[in-house]
Amino acid sequence: MIYLNNAATSWPKPETVYQAHDAYLRHLSGSVNRGAGGASLDAGRAVLETRELLAGFFNIREPEQVIFTPNATEALNLALQGLLEPGDHVVISSLEHNAVARPLHALQEKGVEYTIVNCDSRGRLNPGDVERAIGPRTRLICLTHASNVTGTILPVNEVGEIARRHHLQYLVDTAQTAGEIPVDVEAAGITLLAFTGHKGLLGPPGTGGLYIRYPDAIRPLIYGGTGSRSEHLTQPEVLPDKYESGTVNAPAIAALGAGVRFIRETGLNNIRRHTMELTARLLEGLRRLPGVTLYGPPDSGERVPVVSLNIRGLSPGEASAWLADHYDIVTRPGLHCAPLAHQTIGTLQTGTLRLSPGFFNTAAEIEAALAAIKELTEVIQGE
């Protein structure tokens, strides 16, 4: 199998991730905050370790401000639903995932308003347009760090400077960038950072989180037992307990820690160099194929390893199925949960076929995928 669907979830994972998951699930599955038995304490230590690793990875000063959630979607919901109040206004880009667009759409009923700033047809965002969309009631700018459809990397530092100047909260969705390119909350002035564990961070599904710079401004999404101050019915204010009720997924979080450690040991720049080479090779090969339309910026340096395309005369679903059936190549067709992005690039009706290489793909696999797509275009043209 040639797996080119890493933007959905990365595969395979580093061996140490499988090992950590197995070890913690097998031996140390104790609930983290419930009692002081040896095993449950070790689970607690593993969660602390991963929290500290992630804080270092994103240049976050206080590790307790890293809150674990089951995925980026819940992290984004916590940020949006925890922060916004009736009358608040939000500025977002036209590349946002439904994990942002749907909560905001639902919050409209509570009197929250938002403005969508349009990106160009390659997914590029002009920071000046973001600044022009800010009004007197604007409370938050929310931006995806990179599009999961076009791969375009958005100018998070420039927009962060605008947020800082206007004293706004700044939420960045790093689902497509964490583990791919550097993410630095200080450099970008990020006050809320959502991440997912199962993509570039090379961890298992069921992991993700939100960095909360100003916890006083964010209400919890979930209330319940934290193993602390148990005699009080009010939710504790202390972090991370305020936002982490219920048993956390300690084995998966320990495995996520192994993923982050793998990235650190390999070097993010080495990972980036490899995936950029694969992406450049893919883009170059696809550009030579007649009947193939490519989306997103032409230069692989402007994007994460995500390539969207369409083949004339064929729907993305048909193309994806053909590649799977004939070549055992895994791709993803459709709207990728981001209708705003497809509207931006003019593919809302059809969707696109998405190929997303990862660190464990090889140049030979990219060549094989290119040969398969070439053959597919020839089959179509022959008809």
Binding site: R34, L48, S228, R229, D241
Partner: protein, 87 residues
């Protein structure tokens, strides 16, 4: 006499971090279940050697970890006796 120093914390996160900081500096420190009379905050206390408590407290302060309570106590079998706060 079996004297010890116990620190309690506002949450398990701080208790675990405190243990890591103290052990990382080569000092003795281990987390034990805390009697409810002492604290109900997170169920864990960091047990320190009284001879090393001063250094441990200094280290924690430097790391920004603030214990909720600092007490001296005497262990008699499973019981803690003569609990007194350290100022």
């Amino acid at each position: 006499m079996n004297e010890l120093v116990l620190l309690t914390f506002p949450s398990i996160f701080y208790a675990l971090r405190a243990e890591k900081v103290v052990q990382g500096a080569g000092l003795r420190g281990r987390l034990i279940p805390v009697p409810r009379e002492l604290s109900s905050l997170c169920g864990l206390a960091l047990e320190l050697d009284p001879a090393e408590a001063g250094r441990a407290l200094y280290l924690l302060q430097a790391t920004g970890i603030v214990p909720e309570r600092k007490v001296r106590a005497v262990k008699e079998g499973p019981c803690l006796k003569n609990i007194s706060d350290i100022l």
